[in-house]
Symmetry: C2
Subunit: 164 residues, 2 copies
DNA sequence: CGCAGATAGTTTGGTCCCGAACGATCTTGA
DNA sequence: TCAAGATCGTTCGGGACCAAACTATCTGCG
């Protein structure tokens, strides 16, 4: 496959090209591979699990959050799904038009909107999530099993550090 | 801040809600936090480093790849940047119109297009990348320094596993 | 040679994505 | 009480994003 570089080739080229600059190469390796890994895993899951239900990644995450919390306010969903409220608004419209969830205007506070899955939405998630989890196991299969919690914890630290 | 959950609250709710299902919870924790971390880091870097140069994330990554490889074919850039060739085509048009790079039709093979940074593009990257690296150090500051290479390696394994 | 198939990049159509501006609703303090 | 400010979700404009269809080019085999 001409014109393709392996990960090793890329990292070696980076080291050569940036040699002599005053950089934190270890931090760079972590973040560069963080984005590569997240991207690769996401693409893999979109193709293998989500595509057959005609769901986008964000659509799935939004459904997942609402499913986990039974009922959720939109600002919670936006925060947990990692999208802006503007984006969420559009995605909710899409999912609502497909009958997977419902918006309800808050009764106590008229500014709020809460989201709840419909029966169809719950059924979809119930069938889909175990498959999604299989894909999660698949993409982590190269890691030492006892190492997993430590990796999850390291990723939590990154999330925390990036929130200010 | 009402309506916000901490990471701990979320993971505990997930455990409760999915209790009893036959799932790989450790793999789930890794991937869930992988996406959270990547998202948080990306947003942080977009706001703090990229915004002032009016660059999008993808725009920056594309410039970075072309900068590292001096000159690159578009399929290489698409692969390394983790976007489809369709997306790349549009992003290249944007960056080219801003005078940061140039497309050149391949001479030996007329189907190929190679990309090269202009002087302005090189100057931008030379100034921007050290700042970007500072942000990389910032988001990894919560991690034990000697642990960094192991984390980078674990992320490489995930990338690898997700590529089939 | 010449044409069938492979390969590269672009275009198209539809969704996602964000910041900023907006209208609606709630809260607070004088 | 009621106006100023805060907070919520939506809308708007423009870029990113992908799959599929398309054009152009190259390769190889008869």
């Amino acid at each position: 496959m001409p014109g393709q570089h392996t990960l090793d080739e890329t990292e070696s080229q980076v080291a050569t090209r940036l040699a002599g600059m005053d950089l934190d190469f270890e931090a760079m390796a972590v973040t560069a591979n963080l984005f590569r890994a997240a991207n690769a895993a996401r693409n893999q899951m979109e193709r293998t699990v989500l595509a057959k239900s005609n769901l986008t990644w964000t659509g799935f995450v939004v459904l997942w959050v609402a499913w986990i919390w039974e009922t959720a306010e939109t600002r919670e969903i936006a925060s947990e799904a990692g999208v802006s409220k503007a984006t969420l608004s559009g995605v909710l419209t899409t999912l609502e038009s497909r009958g997977l969830l419902e918006r309800k205007r808050g009764e106590r506070d008229g500014r709020l909107v809460t989201v709840e899955l419909t029966a169809a939405g719950k059924k979809l998630m119930k069938g889909l999530f175990p498959e999604f989890n299989k894909a999660e196991r698949h993409v982590t299969r190269g890691l030492d099993r006892p190492q997993l919690p430590a990796i999850a914890e390291a990723l939590r630290q990154i999330t925390q550090a990036a929130r200010d």
